[in-house]
Amino acid sequence: MNTKYKIVKAEHLNSDTFMLTVESEIISKRARSGQIVNIKCGDEGGVLLRRPISICSVDRDKGTFDIVIQIRGKGTKILSKYKAGDEIDIMGPLGQGFSLYPKHKKIIAVGGGIGIFPLLQLLKDHPAENKKVILGFRNKSCVILEEEFKQACNKLFISTDDGSYCDKGLVTDILRKELDKEPADMLFFCGPLAMMKVGVEIAKEYNIPCEVSMEQRMGCGIGACLVCVCKTKNTDDWEYTQVCKKGPVFSGDKIIFD
């Protein structure tokens, strides 16, 4: 199976975040919002494992898709050096994406940090009439993709941890305020575990279904090695479930946050 594709655009969005646009008819056709790709970083520096990255946006006509990556360590540093025209080795699309039900007329998507990326295509693809999105960033210099998100939704809220841009504070506090004003049919969360945990509690409190996108360190990325698990409920007990194959998107009430 071919896993080699061409990068058609590589662009830095801020000091530590960059976007790669990759040409792949197959991936862009098959990709559903919330799914991931697993990327080989290259043979430099003994980086062995692929790195899981969310599909951020898809252009199905052009046959390209975008991924946005924040430099964290060795692997993402290597990826940041890729340029337009380079070949990149990508497995995907992998895993389960977000649910797009027409009965959900009003949705709110909540993202924090690197968790905002998969929400862009979710908003583009979701058939809802009313789409709100609440994004959390560390500070003003971290704010990216603002225009793209604005265009993909009806209302965009931004908060920064230090208040240097827009609102100050927690995305979940903004969510609560919005839900008090107007109910929603479905909530989506992607970001730090602590945020998603509170998000799921809020969803329960307001009796709204929700989905969360989980993160876990991965090995194979396709479900074969059982290293990337999170704790989920089953009929009468719990189990460890592969994030790469059964997720990364799960129904919020399935996850056990300990």
Partner: protein, 305 residues
């Protein structure tokens, strides 16, 4: 490629069409990788480690990347041997590749019952896992002494009606002693190495990276150690040896064959390259063509010293 090239090997009566086997725990039950290549290409498939009852496994994170290697602490998460027989064997039998059932237990009695159950199931060989570093009971506690290995293997031997491979741990002082104990107790073959115990620490949080604190090292980092052990064990026992540990390509695989392995297993390399197994098979064949070798068995133990 030429058709006169013979890649077949025989492991104590277990005929493999080529010497490349998917290593246990890195290949699930084959379903996932079947989307990437035809599983019939493989000499064999060692399935995820099985236990009598389902096991939940260890808390995450279960993987840490270390220089040229990975640590894992999965802890034998599996659906239990009965679910394997019911749901996975029929799938695997859709391919023309040997099925090797990797079996573990907490007690000698559990090992006996695993071997009895698997002897009555449609698998081609049983790989007795006496070497998992990530579970508290069983496994390593038997596998790390010659006496322990002798006890388990001699007790399960009478239940085995198919080739019995004993998988050895490298976490011992002298692996040849352990291999000899397995042979004396009636093992048909030994496979090695399982992972080398290790750990990683996140200095920012001062916490271990793995949820289980310690784990097992695999991948290219362990290859020289694995190769040396395969070399020594091959000289110490008469039964066939299956070699593994850090094999990523045909050159690595040929090194193990030359060191004395009759077949090789590949695990970790598949994470980065899902075609690692197939490319290794093709590469061995190309090497044989280039060097006018008709049968891969000519390579086994062919080291010149």
């Amino acid at each position: 490629m030429s058709n006169n090239i013979d890649l077949k090997v025989n492991i104590a009566g277990l005929e493999l069409k080529n010497p490349v086997i998917a290593a246990s725990g890195c290949f699930g039950f084959g379903r996932e990788y079947s989307r990437y290549f035809d599983l019939s290409r493989l000499g064999g498939i060692a399935v995820k480690g099985l236990t009598p009852l389902p096991r939940k496994g260890n808390p995450p994170p279960r993987i840490a990347e270390t220089p040229s290697g990975i640590l894992n602490s999965v802890g034998l998460q599996n659906p239990g041997v009965h679910a394997f027989i019911e749901k996975e064997i029929p799938f695997l039998r859709g391919f023309n590749s040997a099925i090797i059932a990797n079996a573990s237990g907490n007690t000698i009695e559990e090992y006996e019952s695993m071997v009895e159950i698997l002897s009555n199931a449609d698998v081609d060989a049983i790989e007795l896992n006496l070497s998992c570093p990530n579970v508290k009971e069983g496994c390593l506690s038997f596998g790390s002494s010659a006496g322990g290995v002798y006890d388990v293997v001699s007790r399960v031997r009478k239940y085995a009606n198919k080739p019995l491979i004993v998988k050895l741990t490298p976490n011992v002082t002298d692996i040849t002693e352990i291999a000899k104990a397995a042979e004396d107790a009636g093992a048909d073959s030994v496979s090695l190495i399982n992972t080398i115990r290790g750990m990683a620490i996140d200095v920012k949080s001062r916490r271990p990276v793995l949820g289980n604190i310690t784990g097992g090292l695999s991948g290219p980092a362990v290859k020289p150690v694995a190769l040396r052990m395969v070399y020594e064990v091959s000289k110490a026992v008469k039964i066939p040896v299956i070699g593994m540990g850090g094999i990523s390509n045909c050159t690595d695989a040929i090194e193990f064959l030359l060191a004395g392995a009759s077949a090789v297993m590949i695990g970790t390399a598949g994470f980065e390259n899902p075609m690692a197994w197939v490319e290794t098979i093709d590469g061995i064949e190309a090497y044989m063509t280039a060097n006018s070798i008709d049968s891969v068995t000519e390579l086994i133990g062919g080291l010149i010293v």
